[in-house]
Amino acid sequence: MAGELYRRPIMFAVVATVVILIGTIVTMFFPMFTEGMHPRLENLKPYTALQLAGKDIYMREGCNNCHTQTVRPLRTEVMRYGEYSKAGEFAFDRPFLWGSKRTGPDLARIGGKYPDAWHYKHFENPQAFFAQSNMPKYGWLQSGKLDPAAMEAHMKVNGFPYTQEEMADLPSKTELDALVAYMQVIGTGVKKAVPVTVAAMAEEKNPLAGDPNAHERGEKVYEKECEACHGDDGRGGIGPRLTDDIWLNKEGDISDGRIYEIIANGTANGMPPYAGQLDKDKIWSLVSYIRHEQHKTK
């Protein structure tokens, strides 16, 4: 009878093992041998030694405790972070670094979103960008050295190709250099898609042009979202100066609509797109603010 089972520990252990293994085999072991579990995007490249060093630091510092690296196929999530994650993007991650908690934002599409200079400044002092950020400062990584011998071993274990010049170059880099290099490559296996693309609107007029308070509202948005890169009152920093003719004339006589487009869609030079984060009114108020500052300097 079944009661026998509870008198025979070895028999019991065998039955328990079988029961435990069924779900294990179906959901974990069997899928391991299906193609769906080992996809690889065509243009996904193995990490370089510097990037892998950065990824090692990401793991060492436990960045995954606060940042995820997977964008879910949900409408607002794609708007906020970019194209949803594809299975084939992670073929070189051993293990995956998707994380489980977003105390900070998702990083699956951070690669190429900001210029390097942004990352250096942000790692050194996140609060310089977002006064109320709770991210720890990581400027101390600048005094960390990279060890070519160790990195060679790491590259070998991963089976990534490398050159001796690449290794010879490592001692001249810091841990922070490596981390930034890793940041810039995350998620770049997928073709970069602008989250929300605003159609050409260079001809559009600023609907807030007649509003005398628009530039003040714009200033508030500016201080929160733009100042860290473009400096106090648009004087420039990581990003270009916004109030002189050099920037404004670069593309000929720049129109209000064109400024809107740049804010909304970003540029290839490192300006991230804001269409997914700022509504129309906020962007137009920024245009008013830039115009206001520009007239002040003139």
Partner: protein, 465 residues
Amino acid sequence: MNDYQYDHQTVKGFIVSSIFWGVVGILIGLWISVQMWKPEFNVPPFFTFGRLRVVHTNSLAFGLGIGAIFGISYYIAMRLTKRPLVFPKLARFHLYLFNAAIALAALSLFAGMNQTLEYAELEWPLDIGVVILWVIFAVNIFGTIIKRKDEQMYISLWYIIATVIAVAVLYIVNNLAVPASLTKSYSLFAGVNSANVQWWYGHNAVGFVFTTPILAMFYYFLPKSTGLPIYSHRLSIIAFWSLVFAYLWTGAHHLVYTPLPDWIQTLAIVFTLFLIAPSWGSVINGYYTVGTDWNKMQTHYLTKFFILGITFYGLQTVQGPTQAIRVVSQLIHYTDWVPGHVHMGTMGWVTMTTAASIYYIIPKIYGTEIYSIKAANVHFWLVLIGQLMFSITMWITGIQQGALWKATNADGSLKYTFMEGLVKNYPFWQLRTVAGVIFTVGMLFFIYNISMTIRKGKALAASRA
């Protein structure tokens, strides 16, 4: 008889060690709770949130949790088999090795040696140590059971056996890695596959560390401390087998809406929901057991620990499965809701039940009574309040975060930037620290009570000698 005494020293050693690691883990928990709203509390390189959080989870799950599980399981096994452990010296060595491993684990995590697999962060040399610990435990437990004096194996032993088997399979597979040096390795698995393996492990670590061994304690100490036999043996049997069968299918509910194949996610969700049944089998069994005489809630101070413990287990096992459903996961996944959920399980169910078991064991070992029932009651209420406040504030934060992340303006653009959402969490995160302090004070009452009981027992033994 002497052997038996000797083994009790080991049981006591595990209990005291687990309490020590518990203190370490709880204090670090308080520290990182402050870091969440005050980044100045990060002290690089060793004490940033990213490193401390894993020390927190490891010292509590493995130091407090598994330390107590080892010790209490030995105690239960000896009692239920009516004999000392087969290898008492090995058990002693087990205790020393356990403490050495946890200490090294903490140090290595401070140093940033982290595989980044949640609840399997330790690097490969320590993984080997952990496997040795479990092998020793398995040898002693199986040996003792096989050489038992009593024919029948009581429910608690089933759960302990299932724990040993499952942990062995889970831990070894998930930690398979290729070492690059003594302190760094790369997982054998990559990308999507590694995610699937990790959460198969991660969720079952919850199942076979925070559930089955704690149920072993529950099924043993509830009847012991109330004098009431478990209500239905048949329910125990069905609950046991359906629990250990269903658990292993559920890991992928941690990966809902990731690039993991849809069918694995769906299967995980289905089995996760099913788990409500076996879980509530134990809950109902507990309620009906005490239901034959509810007066025990008042007359036996430990009864309320067990009943509240199993109640939180019941709530946990409804909330958890609910979270797995896609539409709920959309909102609360990646938010603070999840730590709220986890801490109801760990602070409510696991710690409550473990502490009550320790309250039962320590006076028994020393042949005395508990030092102060009053202090135990204060402990009970403080940890209850602290835990509820912790979980509830985190649930509110989580729902708020999820809603802000999804909110859009009339023109379809996002309403809040990430920072605007984050800033709204601060008051709740501050409240959570307060909740943690209340819980910690409760635990101090527990520690004080246990150490005074030990002192009392030692004085008693000295006077007899």
